[in-house]
Assembly symmetry: C2
Homo-oligomer: 330 residues x 2
Amino acid sequence: MKKIINNSNDVVKEMLQGMEKASPQIRYIKEHDVIVRTKKADKVAILSGGGSGHEPAHGGYVGYGMLDAAVAGNVFASPGADAVVKGIEAVDAGKGVLLIIKNYSGDIMNFQMAKELAEMDGAQVEYVVVKDDVAVPDSTYSAGRRGIAGTVFVHKLAGAKAEAGGTLAEVKAVAQKAIDNVRSMGTSMASCVLPGVGKAGFTLGEDEIEIGMGIHNEPGLERTTMKRADELAKILLDRVLEDYDYSGSEVAVMVNGLGGTPLMELYILYNEVEKILSRQGITVYRSLVGNFMTSLEMPGCSLSLLKLDSEMKELLDAPCSTLGWTQFHV
Amino acid sequence: MKKIINNSNDVVKEMLQGMEKASPQIRYIKEHDVIVRTKKADKVAILSGGGSGHEPAHGGYVGYGMLDAAVAGNVFASPGADAVVKGIEAVDAGKGVLLIIKNYSGDIMNFQMAKELAEMDGAQVEYVVVKDDVAVPDSTYSAGRRGIAGTVFVHKLAGAKAEAGGTLAEVKAVAQKAIDNVRSMGTSMASCVLPGVGKAGFTLGEDEIEIGMGIHNEPGLERTTMKRADELAKILLDRVLEDYDYSGSEVAVMVNGLGGTPLMELYILYNEVEKILSRQGITVYRSLVGNFMTSLEMPGCSLSLLKLDSEMKELLDAPCSTLGWTQFHV
């Protein structure tokens, strides 16, 4: 595997250094692998994070209108509670801190522990848990559904609410509303390769794909033959629509590349997704097509659907400026 | 090769449909495979384009602050002159049209022919040719240097100048200044696979890379063994710095993924690039790290350096809102 790295032990630190250099808006706290905004914002602070290898998540979402801090673990490994505490301390402006946690056992444990530790020091901390992946009920690293790309919608909506001056309870309520209304489903055409491992986590046949694979090479729902874009759109969407009632509603759609799939294919898939939604009377209010929560160089994608109400539409459209998602309407 | 497509003959049309659906700002003229802004802007119009497979280039750069139209050919094939003429007609607001052409023989021929045809109909058309790739003096599809990712800087600067009300001569001068001051150099770890071909254009060994490869699988400068990120940064940068004098200047840097390389690796590479520049007294004013001009799912990257003066810095920082590059400073 040909990776553009120096040493597999240093990939996270060197990547975060690169991120810091790429944006005047963020600062990298090297001792704890935390990315924070350069200037502390006088508002409810939002912190997320988790294992690395999902870039731009989460460091790439730190900035105006989204996160205040992102805590990075090693590749596919949860950050320690102490690092999360440092992140909380760095961004707490006295108005409370919301932790947005993807549902993986390590993250849950360490972020919850961090909340308790920070509270002992007087911080006011709340958290929400994202479990948008409808593929499997439990997984290798999670009790309950996994948190995947739908998390980025949670960052965006909660971030906009905080930026608009929402209280901790209000920001948490928006985050929870986003979580309650988002569902995702992915597929993968090959394993990704961890820098420290150097070989694929599993093997798929020449014409084989895995439906419902996780973003850490975790098993999905089934293996099947490669499908046409229209078939794949239907397979992913069917499962999402079976799980939650989107009928007659307005939605935000994310077609998320896992890292190795060209944008051309993501747009082709989105074209099919939109056709199916349109036939079912579901209106796309906004869509995002690109690499938002990746799995290193994994070829594949996930589809996320967020049901919107008028408040959520406004928050979704609010400006934001981060490495991973910048929004500005003319 | 597992591609998320329906039929290899339809990939361009279906992709452009997906793009149109993904942005309220753009409209797809299906008959000619042209992406234009939804609302014609009352200013000098800027049109670019070329073969598909380089997404987000160029349809993804149509929008406020960048292009008015992008004309898409088949995968890695130049669009016809008639389509370019239709694009010119669609965006010409009577203040002149600038064509930004990447230096490939087919594009040069067809865009120049389109200029002549449009002028016969009374349009005022100018063009510039981007040839930023310092790898090879001539190539499979080009007489003279190839145009690659540095083109996106030309879109951005010319786009900002046009948005600010510049005349056709002024917009062209800015585009030419960007061209004169930008150099790029790439490397690839594997061939990409054209949807209509279904197999790799060439093969590299397990530990082999090609330095200076083009974005259409064209041969580069040399094949060598895989390098560390710091070595690779030096190889790419050395050639760029040998070619043009950046000493003591401020630059914009683009570390561009070719489609199959994870963002993690691009940031690690950028970290090394910035270190070398800093040691040489070259100041990074802004940087872009991501997939800006791809080669389908090719693993690899290119590095572009743009020397800036104060006008260029201002134009670079001007807001823009497109699928491929949105900029908005808080």
